[in-house]
């Protein structure tokens, strides 16, 4: 406990004197003693002033602690006065005297002020909105129905993203709430910290609860190197980034930094100068621990280029199996790499075209590998399949997945991807082969192949056709390979044909706000679901997505859905009311999003870049 330092009081306080004088007077009147209200102290110090000469506070405390029965208190006792009362008198005077004479404490060391944040402050309405959004993060009580009020927690990520794009900084007074929110929800961290800017990092150094914000930002070691300037590296990215322009600083941080700092440094450097990052990694590669090597290798995914091949090729002989597998995966994403060539050679020897097969014309024949030799293992093929899968199909899948897709056209009679997919496949290998091609299309970001593998969304049997039993194909991942507008179109048609039950993850990879054919088809599907008489919470996932992702302009069109309709024959009891409530919430949320958006738009038009589509987490 601190209190301001005290010096000996020079001013006795008038009120205390008055009341203690009262004590004396009343005591005197009862005992009939002399008129002197201030008898001389018995101590050796002569009475210099009319007031009692104060005994040191510590002595009073000691006397009080021991009790006046055991020790005579170091205070003046008036005739007839009890020693304990005299001690209390003296303590009262001393207490008030010390309180009245409080002096300032010596100031601690001043911290370096937070670096200036040149970004403009939020418009007032947006600032209040953020306060509301952050205040809501506690969430509603468990089990309570959501009612018609928008779920503010779910809108926070969108708000943060938009505010970040508009180039605003967060209001200072809201930084603690913003840091707390980022602490509680890792998904918010990047956007929240970017908006919070340098002052939040400055603040995080003062509070252990917010240390997460410094992790990976390099700010801790920056703070340690106090001579360095702490200003933002450049105007438009207030996010903390290590100063990668300073080779000496980079080298020191790489050699002395914590693991997270080093990963962050490598990632940042990789984005700016891929080759420099690789060179940095090479300097210490041999001495890194296996887990660390894996993480570092993973950071090369960004900006992967043929220049990385020699290093990756070398890593195929790494001591750690996981490092070897990652190196192989990275190499297979480089179509011109030697590994890709080796894999293609193996895969092509397994998959061929049989022009004479049966009545339907040519067909693909598959002869899966019979063994997983050392060469294959070195190139990252895992020899042991997961339980329930045959070895040979397991090996085949890995070979095809790592084979450049471009080579198949030549191998299979000059056909384009769509024609290849249409070919019959012998001996039930079709699912296995198409799954492997799907993984390859995702890995190699090949839109033509993805399109061919997805096929036409509205085909009646599409669901079963594209993902037959036993297939591990991930349609949502395949969709990510397509351009945004095509993606939305495909999902819209899929929903129109098959309803919402399988659409949740596909919707999750579509750009926000949903493009028009998509938005309409989701709303139509919800309307159909209502007419079918089920409860809306069977669709709460899609409903929640729609609240966050539908274009706010759709709100007016949705208004008519918010009325309570007559429940159809055989509907679940009360479902009509719940649906009306769910649609009310949907419309309310969309309106709120439109308002939020407007609040973040400066009246003079956006100063920086306009909003670009954001993708929800996949």
């Amino acid at each position: 406990m601190t209190s301001p330092t005290t010096t000996t009081a020079t001013t006795a306080t008038t009120a205390t004197t008055a009341t203690t004088a009262t004590t004396a007077t009343s005591a005197d009147t009862t005992t009939g003693a002399g008129a002197s209200a201030h008898p001389s102290p018995t101590a050796t110090t002569p009475p210099a002033t009319p007031a009692t000469t104060p005994a040191p506070w510590a002595e009073l405390v000691t006397a009080a602690l021991l009790g006046t029965d055991r020790r005579t208190p170091p205070v003046a006792v008036r005739a007839g006065q009890d020693g304990a009362a005299a001690l209390l008198d003296a303590a009262a005077v001393s207490t008030v005297r010390r309180r009245a004479a409080l002096r300032p404490a010596l100031a601690g060391e001043r911290p370096t002020p937070a670096p200036a944040d040149p970004r403009p402050p939020l418009p007032p309405a947006a600032r209040r909105r953020l306060a509301l959004l952050l205040a809501d993060r506690g969430g509603t009580g468990a089990g309570s129905r959501r009612g018609t009020a928008p779920d503010l927690t779910e809108l926070l990520p969108q708000w943060l993203a938009t505010a970040g794009e508009r180039g605003y900084r967060a209001p200072e007074a809201l930084l603690p709430a913003l840091l707390d929110a980022a602490r509680a929800r890792t998904d918010l961290r990047p956007a929240a910290l970017a908006l919070a800017g340098p002052r939040a990092l400055w603040l995080a150094q003062l509070n252990n609860d917010w240390k997460f914000a410094l992790r990976g930002s390099g700010a801790t070691s920056r703070a340690g190197a106090s001579t360095r300037s702490t200003g933002p590296e450049n105007g438009e990215t207030p996010t903390p980034t290590p100063d990668t322009d300073d080779p000496e600083y980079v080298r020191r941080l790489w050699e002395e930094g914590l693991f997270a700092e080093r990963v962050h440094l490598l990632t940042t450097l990789r984005r700016r100068a891929p080759h420099t990052a690789l060179d940095l990694l090479r300097t210490t590669w041999a001495t890194e621990r296996a887990e660390d090597r894996l993480m570092f290798l993973d950071s090369l995914r960004d900006g992967l280029s043929p220049a990385d091949e020699p290093f990756l090729e070398q890593s195929l002989s790494d001591r750690s199996r996981n490092v070897r597998a990652t190196a192989a995966e990275l190499l297979s994403a480089l179509p011109g790499s030697a590994l890709a060539g080796r894999m293609a050679e193996r895969a092509h020897s397994c998959v061929g075209l049989d022009r004479t097969a049966g009545h339907d014309g040519p067909a693909i024949t598959v002869e899966a590998p019979h063994e997983c030799d050392a060469g294959m293992q070195r190139d990252g093929v895992t020899p042991k399949p997961p339980s329930g899968r045959g070895e040979r199909s397991w090996w085949l899948g890995q070979l095809v997945e790592a084979t450049p897709l471009a080579g198949w056209s030549e191998k299979l009679g000059g056909r384009d991807p769509a024609a290849i997919i249409a070919l019959p496949v012998s001996d039930d290998w079709r699912t296995e082969l198409h799954d492997a091609w799907s993984r390859a299309a995702v890995r190699q970001r090949d839109a033509d192949w993805a399109r061919a593998l997805l096929g036409a969304p509205a085909t009646p049997s599409q669901s079963a056709e594209v993902t037959p039993a036993g297939s591990s194909r991930d349609l949502a991942k395949l969709l990510t390979v397509l351009p945004h507008d095509e993606r939305a179109q495909w999902v819209a048609e899929f929903i129109a044909a098959h309803g919402l039950s399988d659409a949740f993850r596909m919707l999750g990879v579509c750009a926000v706000p949903w493009a028009e054919p998509l938005g309409r088809s989701v709303v139509d599907a919800l309307d159909i679901a209502r007419d079918a008489g089920s409860y809306p919470w069977s669709f709460s996932g899609v409903m929640g997505l729609a609240e966050r992702c539908l274009d706010p302009a759709a709100a007016n069109r949705l208004d008519m859905l918010t009325a309570i309709t007559d429940e159809p024959e055989g509907a679940s009891p009360g479902s009509g009311g719940y649906w009306a409530e769910a649609f009310q919430r949907l419309v309310g949320t969309l309106r709120l999003r439109a308002t939020m958006h407007a609040e973040l738009t400066p009246p003079h038009g956006p100063t920086t870049t306009t909003a670009t589509d954001t993708e929800p987490d996949r």
Binding site: L66, A92, P104, A107, G108, A114, A135, D136, G588
Partner: protein, 454 residues
């Protein structure tokens, strides 16, 4: 907030919320969904909010007050429905439109107008004693009996304190043979001295309260002894000090008498709201509103209490300027005051001018000259920077010169207010209002430059 129907800002509305939970709940209700029959005119906003029950709650706000009315059973004041309604109105989403109040709202609003006119008449009537006791003789006898009982209580307490000092404070720690402090506090309640009772309860918590507890216990015992002695010898005290002792012991003064009684001396000024701070001890919500007069420079503290079936009746967000009469409770160092007539609607005020650390400590010291029982005195500090103290644990406010600092009250540690303060400052000087006392400085409001409650 002006009577010409200008909308409040959402900030102003949120500042009215009694706590974080209400703010959140109000924010949730700030959507058109549950509302019906909403409307607003120049001086009021109203609406019906569908709650869990069959009948919707009727929420009405007189924005000239501001005053709130809601048919919900909440003891929060203002409740989440009135907050939601105001937020909806402040958000200007076109939901709350201008109109005439419906009958259910108009009844209450009209009642307020009538009451306001009546009280204005009685105030301007002047001189007329507000309330004459039915039987002055009986009232006098009752009051004398009470004084005797308090005196008996004070004497008993003196005995208890001297007994403690005889056997030593060490005996207070655990195995003391005598009665516990709680029992003594109950005796003081019986003696009709609630002020003494609450101080005695404080003693109980000072025992064994970490290092240095004997010093703290001795301080509190000594000040309690001083109060006992002051009351027992009250006829020898100067009148203002006697009034202070009376109120510290727990004898109250009727607020109405302060404004309209024969000795009424209301102070008219433009009062800047410096802070509104609620504390809840589980039974009672105490709302403290600090004000400072622009012309007089005087500090004032308005207290209101809320509990079950008794909502708080006043909400004033920091930063407002209120042209009103204020009447101080009597005392050697008047601070507590009651709000009288308002002469104009509240309007947003400026960032208040403040003083440095030396002056703040001097102000506390000076106040102690009049009222030795003061734990703190309200001050506005200007150009101070929140920094960590030399021990690296506690916080201080460093003066502009950088040499001297005022430690923050340790109670602020672990409160979010400390971090708001640090965030707003960012290592740069700022203006902050709070209570400066022997435990340090307890910050209540900081300006960024809009007031932020800490």
């Amino acid at each position: 907030m002006n009577p010409q129907g200008e909308r409040w800002t959402t900030d102003q509305v949120l500042a009215l919320a009694p706590d974080e939970a209400s703010r959140r709940a109000g924010g949730k209700l700030a959507a058109p969904g549950p509302w019906s029959e909403t409307g607003a005119d120049d001086s009021a906003v109203w609406g019906q909010c569908k709650g869990s029950g069959k009948k919707p709650y009727q929420a009405i706000v007189d924005i000239t007050g501001p005053a709130f009315k809601c048919t919900c059973p909440s003891r929060k004041f203002p409740c989440k429905h009135t907050l939601g309604l105001l937020l909806l109105w402040a958000g200007d989403g076109g939901v709350v439109t201008a109109g005439e109040p419906p009958q259910w709202a108009d009844e209450w609003l009209a009642g307020r107008r009538v009451r306001a006119e009546r009280s204005a008449r009685t105030t301007s009537g002047g001189g007329a004693p507000s309330r004459t006791p039915a039987d002055p003789e009986a009232a006098k006898r009752r009051s004398e009996r009470r004084l005797q009982r308090i005196a008996a209580g004070a004497t008993e307490l003196e005995q208890r304190l001297t007994d403690l000092l005889h056997s030593g404070l060490a005996s207070a720690d655990g195995a003391q043979g005598g009665t516990s402090w709680d029992e003594t506090a109950a005796r003081m309640i019986d003696a009709q001295a609630p002020g003494l009772a609450s101080r005695v309860r404080e003693l109980g918590s000072a025992v064994a309260s970490g290092p240095d507890w004997p010093a703290r216990l001795l301080e509190e015992c000594a000040l309690l002894h001083l109060l006992d002695q002051g009351f027992l010898g009250i006829e020898w005290l100067p009148a203002p000090l006697a009034a202070t002792v009376r109120s510290r012991v727990g004898l109250t003064t009727e607020a109405a008498d302060l404004l309209t009684g024969p000795d009424a001396a209301p102070v008219r000024d433009r009062w800047l709201i410096l802070a509104q701070h609620d504390s809840d001890d589980g039974k009672l919500i105490t709302r403290r509103i600090f004000l400072r007069g622009e012309r007089t420079g005087r500090m004032a503290l308005h207290l209101s209490f809320g509990g079950p079936n008794r909502p708080l009746d006043l909400a004033l967000p920091p930063g407002l300027l209120l042209d009103a009469d204020l009447a101080y409770y009597p005392g050697a160092r008047p601070l507590r005051a009651t709000l009288g007539e308002r002469h104009a609607p509240a309007a947003p005020g400026p960032v208040p001018p403040g003083v440095g650390i030396d002056a703040a400590l001097a102000a506390y010291g000076d106040a102690l000259r009049d009222d030795p029982w003061l734990d703190s005195w309200p001050v506005v500090l200007t150009d101070v920077t929140p920094i960590r103290g030399r021990d690296g644990e506690n916080w201080q406010l460093a003066d502009a010169d950088g040499e001297s600092a005022l430690p923050l009250d340790p109670r602020v540690l672990g409160r979010t207010g400390l971090w708001h303060l640090a965030a707003i400052s960012g290592g740069a000087p700022l203006t902050v209002f709070g209570e400066c006392g022997h435990r340090g400085f307890l910050p209540l409001t900081a300006w960024d430059p809009t007031p932020v409650s800490l």
